[in-house]
């Protein structure tokens, strides 16, 4: 949660954001019944098959119920009122001022922070600060240890009791379960530490390239079925520092409105013009492509030098999957280039874990620039870009990260190499299947219970909508009390109305862990009335 730029929303836009006609229930769906009249209580019963061919594009984004929208706005209005009251009390010295004070304030310096930014931090964020930034004391696997921290002054300061809480981990990005402290990957990483030390203290272009970097890049290129690849030490920096190498002034970038902030930063730094198109809306994208080619630059009317479409494989807040076959068709028709950020989908999607292309069965060479990270599915750190050799050579020469940033650390690289090699073996295949099973099971149960769940059926990112800030907080705290750690997000990471809880399913979760979590969600969902769905009947877990 942070103070980002304001999100322009109107109530009408949100309630009708995804009207039923936009439901992607085309020929790829199995037998499903949807009523045009949403008030009718029709529920979905699907055949959960294990064939990847069916239901590839099955996504759902149910509209916000009116009463939830009204109550959410009301909640924020009340919070604001209380915020102003408390600020007034603090400024008139009736209440003690907490938080750090600017040592330079009295000397006539311009205030460092804008007052509305810190209003939000002081009066809303601090109330619920305990649900974020929870420190852990163990490996972030399927179950982990949270350090217990208690606040005596309503989250302004914490003290650590020294104890740990054991909890099921539904928050960390551990899709294939490679976050392990023992096993072949960990052993290999330790051997790499002994052989190579921790770091090499230099950039790739000077003296930082080691044999294991070359090996990693070759292995990755083979894994993804592309010509060549290059790896960097940080996923965020991979986007922010390499988009400027590919796009420049005079180019146009069309980016999905839900793209990650690292992509937006890269686009800004590149100097190219960029426009956003509605999330996963291919018609809007086509219209914008046509307009761009026909009219050129809006002011100078010069034709664009090239057009790049930037999408993500799996969107981490929505749980949706990009519509790759249509994107490839569009890109070929209009001679544009496609940049796909597979941060959450490489390793997690597809029969062989190769990402969205594997999921749809598309040749990897159709996507011009493939980007991904190693943090989520490989239990390591860093990012990569893969594609044709000419592209990768160009990036090597022009990338900011290749020239100025330290090369990757040996154990981090070894972890990726070991996990890539493991994925080729049957044990790796087992993990991929386990993840797919867990995902479908968990999502199906949530939907059947009557919760609003966004996104594609097969995406391991499961966002469940809660809307009201107080309910979001209560949900999080209650789940922790029952021994389950979840991630809840609200404004400004999401739109004002759409506060949600986001579950990340892992291959390391057993059926038992998922059932425990589902029981807890069922209980809490009943306690605080989270069953908003009007499309699916609300039922208790024991009825399913």
């Amino acid at each position: 949660m942070l103070a980002s730029s304001s999100s322009k929303l109107s109530h009408a836009t949100l309630v009708h954001r995804y009207p039923p006609s936009k439901l992607h229930s085309e020929e790829e769906m199995s037998d499903t019944v949807f009523s045009s009249d949403e008030n009718e209580m029709n529920y979905k019963r699907e055949n959960v098959t294990h064939k990847d061919d069916e239901n590839l594009q099955c996504e759902e984004f149910e509209e916000t119920p009116l009463y939830a929208a009204i109550l959410t706005y009301l909640s924020y209005a009340i919070l604001c009122l209380f915020g102003w009251l408390r600020d007034f009390l603090r400024n008139s010295n009736i209440e003690k001022k907490r938080g750090a004070v600017d040592p330079n304030a009295a000397l006539g310096f311009v205030p460092l922070y804008q007052s509305y930014e810190s209003f939000y931090t002081r009066n809303m964020y601090t109330r619920v600060r305990d649900i974020f930034n929870r420190p852990i004391a163990s490996v972030p696997g399927a179950q982990f240890e949270l350090t217990e921290r208690i606040s005596d002054d309503y989250n302004w300061t914490y003290r650590y009791t020294g104890k740990t809480i054991n909890a099921i981990n539904l928050g960390s990005y551990n899709y294939l379960g490679f976050a392990e402290k023992s096993g072949p990957c960990a052993t290999d990483a330790i051997n790499a530490l002994k052989t190579y030390g921790v770091s090499s203290c230099n950039t790739r272009i000077e003296l930082g390239t080691q044999r294991y970097h070359v090996e990693l890049e070759q292995l990755l290129a083979n894994f993804l079925h592309v010509e060549s690849s290059i790896a960097f030490g940080m996923g965020f920096a991979t986007n922010a520092l390499n988009i400027p190498a590919v796009a420049s002034k005079g180019d146009l970038i069309l980016s999905d409105e839900m793209n990650h902030i690292s992509l937006i930063l890269g686009m800004r730094l590149s100097g190219a013009s960029y426009q956003t198109f509605a999330h996963n809306d291919m018609k809007d994208l086509e219209a914008k492509l046509r307009a761009a080619i026909v009219h050129g630059h809006p002011r100078t009317q010069r034709p664009w030098k090239k057009i790049i479409i930037v999408v993500e494989g799996v969107y981490s807040m929505e749980g949706s999957i990009c519509r790759l076959p249509e994107l490839i068709a569009l890109k070929k028709k209009y001679k544009a280039y496609l940049y796909m950020d597979e941060a959450h989908s490489v390793g997690a999607m597809g029969k062989n874990g190769r990402g969205i292309m594997d999921y749809f069965g598309i040749d990897a060479n159709d996507v011009d620039i493939l980007m991904g990270t190693f943090t989520k599915s490989f239990g390591s750190a860093g990012g990569y870009i893969a594609g044709k050799k000419s592209l990768i050579d160009h990036i090597r020469v022009n990338s900011h990260a290749n020239t100025y940033a330290s090369s990757m650390s040996a154990p981090v690289v070894q972890q990726i190499i070991s996990s890539l090699q493991l994925l080729k073996r049957p044990e790796g295949q087992k993990r991929i299947c386990q993840l797919a099973d867990n995902t479908r099971y968990f999502r199906q149960k949530l939907v059947d219970m009557g919760f609003i769940v966004y996104g594609n059926k097969n995406s391991p990112v499961v966002p469940m909508l809660i809307y009201m800030p107080a309910r979001v907080t209560r949900f999080n705290r209650e789940m922790l009390r029952r021994g389950i750690a979840v991630v809840t997000v609200g404004f400004p990471a999401t739109k004002l109305l759409d506060a949600r809880v986001r579950f990340c399913i892992s291959a390391a979760h057993t059926r038992q862990m998922l059932d425990t979590a589902l029981m807890a969600i069922d209980e809490i969902g009943t306690d605080i009335s989270l069953r908003y769905s009007t499309r699916h009947q609300s039922r208790r877990l024991r009825e399913l």
Binding site: I136, V198, I205, A381, V412
Partner: protein
Amino acid sequence: MGSSMTRGDIESLATDFYDLLESFKHAPFYHISFEIFLVLAVIWLVFFRKPRAIEKKLTEREKQELIDEWQPEPLVPPVDPNHPALNVRVLDGIVGKTVEIDGKKSLNFATFNFLNFVGNSRISEKAIQAVQKYGVGSCGPRGFYGTIDIHLELEERLAKFFNCEEGIIYSYGFSTIASIIPAYSKRNDILFVDEGVHYAIQKGVEASRSHVKWFKHNDIQDLERLLAEQEVLDKKNPKKARTIRRFLIIEGLYVNYGDICPLPRMVELKYKYKYRIFIDESVSFGTIGQTGRGVTEYYDIDRQKIDLISSSLEYSIGSIGGFAVGSSFVVDHQRLSAQGYCFSASLPPLLAAAAIEALNIMEEQSTPLFETIMSKSKRLHKKLLSIKGYSVMGDEISPLKHLRLANALNTIGRLEEIVQFAQTRDITITVARYLTDEHLLPEPSIRLILNVEMTDEELEFLCTVLQEALVKVTS
């Protein structure tokens, strides 16, 4: 033809005019109003109507033609296959005091391994223990269960080392300062930046979209001139001036030049012109100052007067990542506003463990270690100055120096030849590499880095080899 008006002509004109006026009196009202309306319409048409832009209404067929005709450029232009980025030296084994390339060992004067912590067994041991407890990756950003207790420990230790209230760590050295600057400085603010700062700072400045005023490298007069100019502008519009934040961005020890910033005078000016100081101490942390606490210790300046000190864990400490220390008021803001902190996975715990152990060693060995590195730097500086034909850039106590050929001989080609010759004699050095879009591209140079464990003989050997190389290149 003379057109002198006769009396008769004037009379007839006057009569006509009188008749005209009379006709006005007799004409019906609607007639007159219509005529006045016509006159007004003509005046409006001639003087006031803006020409309407002709809208380009293309037909569908024309649009389709345009779409079919449009040819994009290739995704990437062709690259020179001889570019150094495509022909790097591939290393094996530990890149410590010696480095192994193609099976041959050579002395390493090229990597930023100032305190020789790379390959240190104590540090590796601690990193191994961290893998056995936490695994390799942290699997999430700091806000979502990516905060591991070892991160909190490292932040505390760094804050204590610098005697500041709070510290914050990042998972990538480049992203540290590049995320910090846009977190504080927004569109309307002013940044006074030294021209010689390194690329990451330039990117941070660019990302912030603030007004940038570059002053000449290490030139206090130029900075004062810019500050005075800004003061004049402030006096003209004091209300606006009260909403513009000002920052001074400098480095402790410049990576591109090897010299130290004139900090005392900059701190004085801070209180006069009311700007905040952010220092990037990537190179100066762990290399200068009696106990390695950087340029503030070197000049004996109270660290409370500096608003933020940012640095890298990738140089002296020998790990990966970056950090910033300062007062809680300043540092805490980054936890919600710095993009590289909020939206990126946190530092792998083994790298944090390695950094903590390196910090332990720095604190244990303290003054003797740093006096050694400063004195060896001085000795190396003297030795290099004695080789005629080279110009040495950098402060004498800086372990990072830039070596150039004297006058017009200084080209990248010749410097590369020197590097290759040195490699044949088992000395590894490197030409400093930059991208072409640097704000102020430095002159070509060889970046020499001193490792604290180098002996005097080895330094002598380096100078001998450099001398021989010079002879070979200039002959």
